[in-house]
Protein backbone atom coordinates (compact mmCIF):
# COMPACT_ATOMS: atom_id res chain seq x y z
CA UNK A 1 0.00 0.00 0.00
CA UNK A 2 1.39 3.39 -0.96
CA UNK A 3 0.73 6.35 1.33
CA UNK A 4 3.61 8.65 0.47
CA UNK A 5 3.01 12.21 -0.61
CA UNK A 6 5.59 14.42 -2.27
CA UNK A 7 5.34 18.14 -1.69
CA UNK A 8 7.28 20.57 -3.88
CA UNK A 9 8.17 17.80 -6.32
CA UNK A 10 11.01 18.86 -8.60
CA UNK A 11 12.35 21.48 -6.20
CA UNK A 12 15.88 21.06 -4.87
CA UNK A 13 14.66 20.26 -1.38
CA UNK A 14 11.35 18.60 -2.07
CA UNK A 15 9.52 17.10 0.88
CA UNK A 16 8.55 13.47 0.97
CA UNK A 17 5.90 12.63 3.56
CA UNK A 18 5.63 8.99 4.61
CA UNK A 19 1.88 9.45 4.77
CA UNK A 20 -0.62 12.30 4.48
CA UNK A 21 -1.23 12.81 8.22
CA UNK A 22 0.30 15.93 9.75
CA UNK A 23 -0.21 17.77 13.03
CA UNK A 24 -1.27 21.42 12.74
CA UNK A 25 0.54 24.53 13.99
CA UNK A 26 -0.10 25.54 17.56
CA UNK A 27 -1.57 22.20 18.52
CA UNK A 28 1.57 20.10 18.97
CA UNK A 29 4.00 22.73 20.28
CA UNK A 30 7.48 22.05 18.97
CA UNK A 31 6.76 18.35 18.87
CA UNK A 32 8.48 17.46 22.11
CA UNK A 33 5.44 17.67 24.34
CA UNK A 34 3.68 14.89 22.44
CA UNK A 35 6.66 13.09 20.92
CA UNK A 36 6.17 9.82 22.76
CA UNK A 37 2.48 9.63 23.46
CA UNK A 38 1.46 10.76 19.97
CA UNK A 39 3.94 8.43 18.24
CA UNK A 40 5.11 11.33 16.14
CA UNK A 41 7.63 9.09 14.40
CA UNK A 42 4.76 7.41 12.54
CA UNK A 43 3.24 10.60 11.14
CA UNK A 44 3.77 12.30 7.80
CA UNK A 45 5.01 15.58 9.30
CA UNK A 46 4.40 17.98 12.13
CA UNK A 47 4.05 21.74 11.93
CA UNK A 48 5.60 23.80 14.72
CA UNK A 49 3.91 26.45 16.82
CA UNK A 50 3.71 29.80 15.01
CA UNK A 51 7.12 31.43 15.44
CA UNK A 52 8.04 35.12 15.21
CA UNK A 53 11.35 36.99 14.94
CA UNK A 54 11.31 38.08 18.56
CA UNK A 55 9.86 36.21 21.55
CA UNK A 56 6.19 36.97 22.26
CA UNK A 57 4.40 36.69 25.60
CA UNK A 58 0.95 36.24 24.14
CA UNK A 59 -2.46 37.62 25.11
CA UNK A 60 -4.20 38.26 28.43
CA UNK A 61 -6.24 35.56 30.24
CA UNK A 62 -8.63 33.97 29.58
CA UNK A 63 -7.17 32.93 26.25
CA UNK A 64 -9.67 30.25 25.35
CA UNK A 65 -13.36 29.49 25.55
CA UNK A 66 -14.92 26.11 24.86
CA UNK A 67 -18.05 26.26 22.69
CA UNK A 68 -20.32 23.57 21.20
CA UNK A 69 -18.01 21.03 19.52
CA UNK A 70 -15.38 23.72 19.23
CA UNK A 71 -12.82 25.97 20.83
CA UNK A 72 -12.22 29.71 20.61
CA UNK A 73 -8.57 30.65 21.13
CA UNK A 74 -6.60 33.84 21.32
CA UNK A 75 -3.21 32.62 22.50
CA UNK A 76 -1.55 35.58 20.78
CA UNK A 77 1.34 33.68 19.20
CA UNK A 78 3.20 33.13 22.45
CA UNK A 79 6.57 31.72 21.38
CA UNK A 80 10.26 31.96 22.29
CA UNK A 81 11.31 33.56 18.97
CA UNK A 82 13.06 32.10 15.93
CA UNK A 83 16.61 32.07 17.34
CA UNK A 84 15.62 30.02 20.36
CA UNK A 85 13.60 27.64 18.20
CA UNK A 86 16.59 27.10 15.91
CA UNK A 87 18.97 26.61 18.82
CA UNK A 88 16.75 24.59 21.16
CA UNK A 89 14.53 22.45 18.93
CA UNK A 90 16.05 22.08 15.45
CA UNK A 91 18.96 19.91 16.68
CA UNK A 92 16.42 17.51 18.17
CA UNK A 93 14.30 17.53 15.00
CA UNK A 94 17.35 16.70 12.92
CA UNK A 95 17.50 13.31 14.69
CA UNK A 96 13.87 12.53 13.82
CA UNK A 97 12.54 10.54 10.88
CA UNK A 98 9.43 12.73 10.78
CA UNK A 99 9.92 16.05 9.01
CA UNK A 100 9.19 19.23 10.94
CA UNK A 101 7.75 22.22 9.11
CA UNK A 102 8.22 25.56 10.85
CA UNK A 103 5.17 27.83 10.91
CA UNK A 104 6.29 31.48 10.69
CA UNK A 105 4.41 34.70 11.44
CA UNK A 106 5.52 38.26 10.77
CA UNK A 107 4.04 41.72 10.95
CA UNK A 108 5.72 43.02 7.79
CA UNK A 109 6.73 41.44 4.49
CA UNK A 110 10.39 41.96 5.48
CA UNK A 111 9.87 40.06 8.73
CA UNK A 112 8.51 37.06 6.84
CA UNK A 113 11.50 37.17 4.51
CA UNK A 114 13.93 37.39 7.42
CA UNK A 115 12.28 34.45 9.20
CA UNK A 116 12.66 32.36 6.05
CA UNK A 117 16.31 33.39 5.66
CA UNK A 118 17.11 32.37 9.22
CA UNK A 119 15.66 28.92 8.58
CA UNK A 120 17.60 28.36 5.38
CA UNK A 121 20.09 25.52 5.76
CA UNK A 122 19.15 24.74 9.38
CA UNK A 123 19.39 20.96 9.84
CA UNK A 124 16.10 19.59 11.14
CA UNK A 125 13.89 22.10 9.29
CA UNK A 126 12.10 20.41 6.40
CA UNK A 127 9.83 23.20 5.21
CA UNK A 128 8.13 26.48 5.97
CA UNK A 129 4.46 27.15 6.52
CA UNK A 130 3.63 30.82 6.18
CA UNK A 131 0.93 31.95 8.57
CA UNK A 132 -0.62 34.96 6.86
CA UNK A 133 -3.34 35.27 9.48
CA UNK A 134 -1.50 37.90 11.49
CA UNK A 135 -2.14 41.63 11.38
CA UNK A 136 0.01 43.59 8.96
CA UNK A 137 1.37 46.47 11.02
CA UNK A 138 2.27 48.49 7.91
CA UNK A 139 -1.28 48.25 6.59
CA UNK A 140 -2.84 49.52 9.80
CA UNK A 141 -3.36 46.08 11.29
CA UNK A 142 -5.27 44.57 8.38
CA UNK A 143 -4.68 40.86 8.27
CA UNK A 144 -2.29 39.81 5.47
CA UNK A 145 -4.32 36.74 4.69
CA UNK A 146 -7.40 38.73 3.79
CA UNK A 147 -5.91 40.45 0.75
CA UNK A 148 -4.63 38.55 -2.32
CA UNK A 149 -2.06 41.31 -2.96
CA UNK A 150 -0.62 40.99 0.55
CA UNK A 151 -0.57 37.18 0.30
CA UNK A 152 1.27 37.47 -3.01
CA UNK A 153 3.81 39.90 -1.55
CA UNK A 154 4.52 37.72 1.48
CA UNK A 155 4.72 34.53 -0.58
CA UNK A 156 7.10 36.06 -3.11
CA UNK A 157 9.35 37.43 -0.37
CA UNK A 158 9.52 34.05 1.39
CA UNK A 159 10.05 32.25 -1.91
CA UNK A 160 13.05 34.42 -2.69
CA UNK A 161 14.52 33.82 0.74
CA UNK A 162 14.47 30.05 0.88
CA UNK A 163 15.05 26.86 -1.05
CA UNK A 164 12.80 24.96 1.37
CA UNK A 165 9.29 23.90 0.38
CA UNK A 166 6.88 26.79 1.06
CA UNK A 167 3.33 26.17 2.23
CA UNK A 168 1.07 29.22 2.54
CA UNK A 169 -1.61 28.80 5.18
CA UNK A 170 -4.81 30.53 4.18
CA UNK A 171 -7.42 32.30 6.27
CA UNK A 172 -11.09 31.37 5.92
CA UNK A 173 -12.22 34.81 7.04
CA UNK A 174 -12.58 36.15 3.50
CA UNK A 175 -15.43 33.72 2.89
CA UNK A 176 -13.82 32.48 -0.33
CA UNK A 177 -10.20 31.30 -0.22
CA UNK A 178 -9.79 30.97 -4.00
CA UNK A 179 -8.37 34.47 -4.64
CA UNK A 180 -5.73 34.18 -1.91
CA UNK A 181 -4.92 30.58 -2.89
CA UNK A 182 -4.35 31.63 -6.47
CA UNK A 183 -2.27 34.63 -5.36
CA UNK A 184 -0.04 32.35 -3.25
CA UNK A 185 0.29 29.82 -6.07
CA UNK A 186 1.21 32.43 -8.65
CA UNK A 187 3.78 33.96 -6.28
CA UNK A 188 5.63 30.67 -5.96
CA UNK A 189 4.04 28.66 -3.13
CA UNK A 190 4.55 24.90 -3.39
CA UNK A 191 1.35 24.23 -1.50
CA UNK A 192 -1.47 26.00 0.28
CA UNK A 193 -2.93 24.76 3.56
CA UNK A 194 -6.40 25.68 4.78
CA UNK A 195 -8.17 26.56 6.91
CA UNK A 196 -6.79 28.56 9.77
CA UNK A 197 -9.30 29.43 12.49
CA UNK A 198 -12.49 31.42 11.91
CA UNK A 199 -12.82 34.64 13.85
CA UNK A 200 -15.52 34.23 16.50
CA UNK A 201 -16.60 35.41 19.94
CA UNK A 202 -18.51 34.48 23.05
CA UNK A 203 -19.75 36.76 25.85
CA UNK A 204 -19.06 36.44 29.57
CA UNK A 205 -22.55 37.18 30.91
CA UNK A 206 -21.39 38.13 34.42
CA UNK A 207 -18.62 40.48 33.27
CA UNK A 208 -20.58 41.58 30.18
CA UNK A 209 -17.41 41.32 28.15
CA UNK A 210 -16.33 39.35 25.07
CA UNK A 211 -14.49 36.06 25.45
CA UNK A 212 -11.62 35.30 25.03
CA UNK A 213 -10.34 38.42 26.82
CA UNK A 214 -8.57 39.50 23.62
CA UNK A 215 -12.02 40.39 22.25
CA UNK A 216 -12.26 37.79 19.51
CA UNK A 217 -10.94 34.25 19.22
CA UNK A 218 -10.24 31.80 16.43
CA UNK A 219 -12.83 29.04 16.21
CA UNK A 220 -11.50 25.52 15.62
CA UNK A 221 -12.58 21.93 16.16
CA UNK A 222 -15.37 19.74 14.74
CA UNK A 223 -17.72 22.73 14.52
CA UNK A 224 -15.78 24.15 11.56
CA UNK A 225 -15.29 20.98 9.52
CA UNK A 226 -18.06 21.40 6.90
CA UNK A 227 -16.99 24.95 6.20
CA UNK A 228 -13.32 23.97 5.93
CA UNK A 229 -14.22 21.11 3.63
CA UNK A 230 -16.18 23.37 1.30
CA UNK A 231 -13.27 25.82 1.09
CA UNK A 232 -10.73 23.06 0.42
CA UNK A 233 -12.97 21.67 -2.32
CA UNK A 234 -13.31 25.07 -3.99
CA UNK A 235 -9.59 25.81 -3.78
CA UNK A 236 -8.70 22.34 -5.10
CA UNK A 237 -10.99 22.86 -8.11
CA UNK A 238 -9.51 26.25 -8.81
CA UNK A 239 -5.86 25.18 -8.50
CA UNK A 240 -6.39 22.03 -10.56
CA UNK A 241 -7.64 24.28 -13.30
CA UNK A 242 -5.12 27.10 -13.07
CA UNK A 243 -2.07 25.99 -11.02
CA UNK A 244 -2.02 22.18 -11.14
CA UNK A 245 1.50 21.95 -9.68
CA UNK A 246 0.42 23.47 -6.36
CA UNK A 247 -0.80 21.06 -3.70
CA UNK A 248 -3.63 21.58 -1.21
CA UNK A 249 -3.39 20.55 2.44
CA UNK A 250 -6.72 20.23 4.27
CA UNK A 251 -7.24 21.45 7.85
CA UNK A 252 -10.28 22.02 10.02
CA UNK A 253 -12.13 19.93 12.57
CA UNK A 254 -10.57 16.59 11.72
CA UNK A 255 -11.02 14.02 14.48
CA UNK A 256 -11.20 10.73 12.58
CA UNK A 257 -10.08 8.87 9.46
CA UNK A 258 -13.47 9.54 7.87
CA UNK A 259 -12.98 13.27 8.35
CA UNK A 260 -9.49 13.05 6.85
CA UNK A 261 -10.68 10.98 3.88
CA UNK A 262 -13.36 13.55 3.14
CA UNK A 263 -10.68 16.26 2.83
CA UNK A 264 -8.55 13.98 0.66
CA UNK A 265 -11.47 13.24 -1.66
CA UNK A 266 -12.14 16.99 -1.75
CA UNK A 267 -8.68 17.44 -3.25
CA UNK A 268 -6.23 17.60 -0.34
CA UNK A 269 -3.02 15.59 -0.79
CA UNK A 270 -2.48 15.71 2.97
CA UNK A 271 -4.34 16.78 6.09
CA UNK A 272 -3.45 18.46 9.36
CA UNK A 273 -4.97 17.64 12.71
CA UNK A 274 -5.32 20.51 15.17
CA UNK A 275 -7.66 20.82 18.11
CA UNK A 276 -8.30 17.07 18.21
CA UNK A 277 -4.75 16.66 19.56
CA UNK A 278 -5.89 18.33 22.77
CA UNK A 279 -8.72 15.82 23.13
CA UNK A 280 -6.59 12.82 22.24
CA UNK A 281 -2.88 13.25 21.52
CA UNK A 282 -2.97 9.97 19.58
CA UNK A 283 -5.53 11.24 17.04
CA UNK A 284 -2.88 11.41 14.27
CA UNK A 285 -1.98 7.75 14.64
CA UNK A 286 -5.64 6.72 14.83
CA UNK A 287 -6.42 8.71 11.68
CA UNK A 288 -3.51 7.08 9.89
CA UNK A 289 -4.58 3.57 10.91
CA UNK A 290 -8.14 4.36 9.83
CA UNK A 291 -6.98 5.54 6.40
CA UNK A 292 -4.99 2.34 5.97
CA UNK A 293 -8.00 0.25 6.98
CA UNK A 294 -10.21 2.12 4.48
CA UNK A 295 -7.71 1.55 1.69
CA UNK A 296 -7.45 -2.16 2.49
CA UNK A 297 -11.22 -2.53 2.65
CA UNK A 298 -11.64 -0.80 -0.72
CA UNK A 299 -8.66 -2.42 -2.42
CA UNK A 300 -6.92 0.88 -2.98
CA UNK A 301 -3.20 0.55 -3.70
CA UNK A 302 -2.15 4.18 -3.74
CA UNK A 303 -3.56 7.05 -1.70
CA UNK A 304 -3.20 9.22 -4.82
CA UNK A 305 -6.22 7.38 -6.26
CA UNK A 306 -8.36 9.05 -3.58
CA UNK A 307 -7.01 12.58 -3.87
CA UNK A 308 -9.69 14.72 -5.45
CA UNK A 309 -11.96 11.72 -6.04
CA UNK A 310 -15.01 13.82 -5.15
CA UNK A 311 -14.12 16.74 -7.42
CA UNK A 312 -16.38 17.28 -10.45
Amino acid sequence: MRLTVELAAGRKSSLLLRNPVMLAAGTCGYGLEYARIAEIERLGAIVSKGTTLRPRRGNAQPRTREVAAGLLNAIGLQNPGIETVIRRYAPIWSTWQTPVIVNIAGETVEEFAELAQRLEGVPGVAGIEVNVSCPNVRAGGRVFGESPEAVAAVTAAVRQSTTLPVIVKLSPNTGDARPTALAAAEAGADAVSLINTLTGMDIDLEARRPLPAHGTGGLSGPAIRPLALRMVYEVACELRERQPGVAVIGIGGITSASDALAFIMAGAVAVQIGTANFVNPRTGVLVLEGIEAFMRAHGIENIAELVGAALP
Binding site: E33, Y34, Q61, R63, A69, I75, P222, P281
Partner: protein, 256 residues
Protein backbone atom coordinates in the same frame (compact mmCIF):
# COMPACT_ATOMS: atom_id res chain seq x y z
CA UNK B 1 1.95 10.90 31.24
CA UNK B 2 -0.05 8.11 29.70
CA UNK B 3 -3.46 7.44 28.24
CA UNK B 4 -5.59 5.00 30.20
CA UNK B 5 -8.89 3.30 29.77
CA UNK B 6 -9.99 2.85 33.35
CA UNK B 7 -12.99 0.85 34.48
CA UNK B 8 -15.41 2.65 36.74
CA UNK B 9 -15.61 0.39 39.80
CA UNK B 10 -18.05 2.54 41.75
CA UNK B 11 -19.98 5.79 41.40
CA UNK B 12 -21.23 6.87 44.81
CA UNK B 13 -23.39 9.98 45.18
CA UNK B 14 -22.42 11.65 48.45
CA UNK B 15 -25.05 14.35 48.12
CA UNK B 16 -26.81 16.08 45.25
CA UNK B 17 -24.12 17.09 42.75
CA UNK B 18 -21.22 15.48 44.63
CA UNK B 19 -19.95 12.07 43.52
CA UNK B 20 -17.06 9.85 44.51
CA UNK B 21 -15.86 7.87 41.49
CA UNK B 22 -13.65 4.87 42.06
CA UNK B 23 -11.56 3.78 39.07
CA UNK B 24 -9.60 0.62 38.39
CA UNK B 25 -6.37 2.30 37.27
CA UNK B 26 -3.29 0.46 38.57
CA UNK B 27 -0.64 2.36 36.61
CA UNK B 28 -2.10 5.72 37.56
CA UNK B 29 -2.39 4.68 41.20
CA UNK B 30 1.30 3.79 41.09
CA UNK B 31 2.49 6.92 39.36
CA UNK B 32 0.42 9.82 40.68
CA UNK B 33 1.80 12.18 43.33
CA UNK B 34 -0.32 14.49 45.51
CA UNK B 35 -1.22 17.66 43.62
CA UNK B 36 -0.95 16.04 40.20
CA UNK B 37 -4.11 15.64 38.15
CA UNK B 38 -5.51 13.81 35.17
CA UNK B 39 -7.61 14.93 32.20
CA UNK B 40 -10.78 12.89 31.71
CA UNK B 41 -12.88 12.69 28.55
CA UNK B 42 -16.46 13.67 29.36
CA UNK B 43 -18.26 12.50 26.20
CA UNK B 44 -19.11 9.21 24.48
CA UNK B 45 -16.38 7.72 22.38
CA UNK B 46 -16.65 9.27 18.91
CA UNK B 47 -18.63 12.22 20.23
CA UNK B 48 -16.97 15.62 20.38
CA UNK B 49 -19.39 17.63 22.40
CA UNK B 50 -18.39 18.59 25.04
CA UNK B 51 -15.08 18.72 23.26
CA UNK B 52 -12.37 19.12 25.85
CA UNK B 53 -11.23 16.87 28.67
CA UNK B 54 -11.85 18.06 32.21
CA UNK B 55 -9.08 18.13 34.84
CA UNK B 56 -9.50 16.14 38.05
CA UNK B 57 -7.22 15.61 41.00
CA UNK B 58 -6.79 12.09 42.24
CA UNK B 59 -8.57 12.30 45.57
CA UNK B 60 -7.33 9.15 47.22
CA UNK B 61 -5.78 5.81 46.37
CA UNK B 62 -6.61 2.40 47.66
CA UNK B 63 -4.49 -0.39 46.24
CA UNK B 64 -4.92 -0.24 42.48
CA UNK B 65 -7.91 2.06 42.61
CA UNK B 66 -7.95 5.83 42.24
CA UNK B 67 -10.82 7.91 43.54
CA UNK B 68 -11.98 11.19 42.10
CA UNK B 69 -14.27 13.58 43.96
CA UNK B 70 -16.58 15.04 41.35
CA UNK B 71 -18.68 18.16 41.74
CA UNK B 72 -21.21 18.69 38.97
CA UNK B 73 -20.55 22.11 37.44
CA UNK B 74 -21.51 21.84 33.79
CA UNK B 75 -22.22 19.51 30.88
CA UNK B 76 -18.96 17.56 31.12
CA UNK B 77 -19.10 16.86 34.84
CA UNK B 78 -22.83 16.07 34.59
CA UNK B 79 -22.08 13.46 31.92
CA UNK B 80 -19.38 11.93 34.10
CA UNK B 81 -21.68 11.84 37.14
CA UNK B 82 -24.18 9.74 35.15
CA UNK B 83 -21.70 6.93 34.35
CA UNK B 84 -22.37 3.58 35.92
CA UNK B 85 -20.23 0.78 37.27
CA UNK B 86 -18.33 -1.18 34.64
CA UNK B 87 -18.13 1.63 32.09
CA UNK B 88 -14.73 2.64 30.73
CA UNK B 89 -13.35 6.13 31.20
CA UNK B 90 -10.63 7.70 29.07
CA UNK B 91 -7.91 9.34 31.20
CA UNK B 92 -4.69 11.19 30.43
CA UNK B 93 -2.29 11.49 33.34
CA UNK B 94 -0.69 11.97 35.74
CA UNK B 95 -0.09 15.58 34.74
CA UNK B 96 1.57 18.62 36.26
CA UNK B 97 3.87 19.03 39.23
CA UNK B 98 2.52 18.08 42.62
CA UNK B 99 3.06 19.58 46.06
CA UNK B 100 6.76 19.80 46.93
CA UNK B 101 7.18 19.34 50.66
CA UNK B 102 10.36 20.48 52.34
CA UNK B 103 12.40 17.69 53.96
CA UNK B 104 12.24 17.10 57.73
CA UNK B 105 8.70 18.07 58.33
CA UNK B 106 6.54 17.08 61.26
CA UNK B 107 3.45 19.26 61.04
CA UNK B 108 1.53 20.09 57.87
CA UNK B 109 -1.29 22.59 57.55
CA UNK B 110 -3.76 22.24 54.69
CA UNK B 111 -6.03 25.18 53.97
CA UNK B 112 -9.02 24.94 51.67
CA UNK B 113 -11.72 27.22 50.46
CA UNK B 114 -14.84 25.29 49.48
CA UNK B 115 -14.21 22.66 46.82
CA UNK B 116 -10.49 23.61 46.70
CA UNK B 117 -10.14 20.77 49.19
CA UNK B 118 -9.84 18.35 46.24
CA UNK B 119 -6.33 19.64 45.60
CA UNK B 120 -5.30 18.55 49.11
CA UNK B 121 -7.03 15.24 49.73
CA UNK B 122 -4.35 12.89 48.41
CA UNK B 123 -1.70 14.95 50.19
CA UNK B 124 -3.61 14.51 53.45
CA UNK B 125 -3.67 10.75 52.89
CA UNK B 126 0.03 10.46 51.98
CA UNK B 127 1.27 12.84 54.68
CA UNK B 128 -0.62 11.07 57.44
CA UNK B 129 0.59 7.68 56.17
CA UNK B 130 4.11 9.07 56.58
CA UNK B 131 3.36 9.98 60.17
CA UNK B 132 3.08 13.76 59.81
CA UNK B 133 0.63 15.61 62.02
CA UNK B 134 -1.87 16.97 59.50
CA UNK B 135 -4.57 19.59 60.07
CA UNK B 136 -7.06 20.62 57.42
CA UNK B 137 -8.89 23.91 57.80
CA UNK B 138 -11.70 24.44 55.33
CA UNK B 139 -13.80 27.55 54.88
CA UNK B 140 -17.26 27.13 53.38
CA UNK B 141 -20.09 29.63 52.97
CA UNK B 142 -22.77 27.26 54.20
CA UNK B 143 -22.55 24.17 56.35
CA UNK B 144 -23.78 21.48 53.94
CA UNK B 145 -20.94 22.43 51.59
CA UNK B 146 -18.38 21.07 54.05
CA UNK B 147 -16.12 18.24 53.01
CA UNK B 148 -17.52 14.80 53.85
CA UNK B 149 -15.15 14.28 56.81
CA UNK B 150 -15.56 10.52 56.55
CA UNK B 151 -13.39 10.69 53.42
CA UNK B 152 -10.37 11.91 55.38
CA UNK B 153 -7.87 9.58 57.05
CA UNK B 154 -8.80 9.35 60.75
CA UNK B 155 -5.50 10.88 61.81
CA UNK B 156 -6.19 14.16 60.03
CA UNK B 157 -7.63 16.93 62.18
CA UNK B 158 -10.44 18.64 60.34
CA UNK B 159 -11.66 22.12 61.24
CA UNK B 160 -14.55 23.71 59.43
CA UNK B 161 -15.01 27.49 59.27
CA UNK B 162 -18.37 28.79 58.05
CA UNK B 163 -18.43 32.29 56.73
CA UNK B 164 -22.23 32.75 56.59
CA UNK B 165 -22.13 34.12 60.15
CA UNK B 166 -25.12 32.00 61.11
CA UNK B 167 -23.56 30.36 64.16
CA UNK B 168 -22.43 33.39 66.14
CA UNK B 169 -19.70 35.67 64.86
CA UNK B 170 -18.42 35.49 61.33
CA UNK B 171 -15.24 33.48 60.96
CA UNK B 172 -13.08 33.32 57.88
CA UNK B 173 -9.64 31.99 57.02
CA UNK B 174 -8.34 35.53 57.55
CA UNK B 175 -9.57 35.62 61.14
CA UNK B 176 -8.69 32.08 62.24
CA UNK B 177 -5.52 31.12 60.41
CA UNK B 178 -2.96 32.87 62.67
CA UNK B 179 -2.98 30.19 65.40
CA UNK B 180 -2.65 27.34 62.95
CA UNK B 181 0.23 28.99 61.12
CA UNK B 182 2.44 29.18 64.19
CA UNK B 183 1.98 25.42 64.63
CA UNK B 184 2.78 24.38 61.06
CA UNK B 185 6.13 23.50 59.46
CA UNK B 186 4.61 23.93 55.99
CA UNK B 187 1.33 25.10 54.47
CA UNK B 188 -0.52 23.98 51.36
CA UNK B 189 -3.34 26.19 50.09
CA UNK B 190 -6.29 25.03 48.04
CA UNK B 191 -7.86 28.49 47.81
CA UNK B 192 -8.64 31.05 45.11
CA UNK B 193 -5.84 33.27 43.91
CA UNK B 194 -7.44 36.32 45.53
CA UNK B 195 -7.69 34.58 48.91
CA UNK B 196 -4.12 33.33 48.66
CA UNK B 197 -2.87 36.87 48.04
CA UNK B 198 -5.01 38.24 50.90
CA UNK B 199 -3.63 35.63 53.26
CA UNK B 200 -0.08 36.38 52.16
CA UNK B 201 -0.59 40.07 52.86
CA UNK B 202 -2.15 39.38 56.27
CA UNK B 203 0.32 36.81 57.65
CA UNK B 204 4.06 37.46 57.70
CA UNK B 205 4.76 33.74 58.11
CA UNK B 206 3.23 32.99 54.72
CA UNK B 207 5.85 35.22 53.10
CA UNK B 208 8.75 33.04 54.31
CA UNK B 209 10.65 31.29 51.53
CA UNK B 210 9.63 27.68 50.99
CA UNK B 211 6.89 27.74 53.64
CA UNK B 212 3.70 27.92 51.60
CA UNK B 213 2.46 26.61 48.26
CA UNK B 214 -0.81 27.18 46.47
CA UNK B 215 -2.85 25.30 43.86
CA UNK B 216 -3.93 27.55 40.97
CA UNK B 217 -7.10 26.29 39.32
CA UNK B 218 -8.68 27.28 36.03
CA UNK B 219 -10.22 25.42 33.10
CA UNK B 220 -7.47 23.71 31.09
CA UNK B 221 -7.41 22.81 27.41
CA UNK B 222 -4.62 20.31 26.75
CA UNK B 223 -3.03 19.50 30.12
CA UNK B 224 0.34 18.86 28.50
CA UNK B 225 1.93 22.27 28.00
CA UNK B 226 1.07 22.30 24.32
CA UNK B 227 -1.69 24.82 23.71
CA UNK B 228 -0.30 27.63 25.93
CA UNK B 229 -3.80 28.63 27.02
CA UNK B 230 -2.92 28.59 30.73
CA UNK B 231 0.12 30.87 30.93
CA UNK B 232 0.31 32.43 34.41
CA UNK B 233 2.31 35.58 35.11
CA UNK B 234 4.44 35.06 38.21
CA UNK B 235 7.12 37.20 39.83
CA UNK B 236 9.65 34.88 38.16
CA UNK B 237 8.14 35.16 34.68
CA UNK B 238 5.39 33.26 32.89
CA UNK B 239 4.60 29.68 33.91
CA UNK B 240 2.20 27.11 32.44
CA UNK B 241 -0.38 26.08 35.01
CA UNK B 242 -1.02 22.72 33.37
CA UNK B 243 2.59 21.63 33.21
CA UNK B 244 4.70 23.65 35.65
CA UNK B 245 1.77 23.89 38.09
CA UNK B 246 -0.93 23.63 39.13
CA UNK B 247 1.00 23.92 42.42
CA UNK B 248 3.16 27.02 42.80
CA UNK B 249 5.24 28.62 45.52
CA UNK B 250 3.02 31.22 47.22
CA UNK B 251 5.95 33.63 47.00
CA UNK B 252 5.84 33.92 43.21
CA UNK B 253 2.05 34.34 42.90
CA UNK B 254 0.91 37.68 41.47
CA UNK B 255 -2.34 39.59 41.10
CA UNK B 256 -4.52 38.19 38.27
Amino acid sequence: MRLYRATLAENRMLRQGLHLLELEAPALAQAVRPGQYCMVRCAEEGSFDPLLRRPFFVHSIEGERCRILLQVRGRGTAWLARRSTGEKLDLLGPLGQGWRLPPRLSTLLLVAEGFGVVTLALLAQRASEQGLAVTLVQEVTQLPEGYPAALLPEEVEYHLVTSDGGAGQQRTLLTVLGDYLSWADAVCLGVSRETALQLRRRFERLRRPGFAQVAVLQPLVCGTGTCLACALETSRGPRLICQEGPIFDLQILMQG
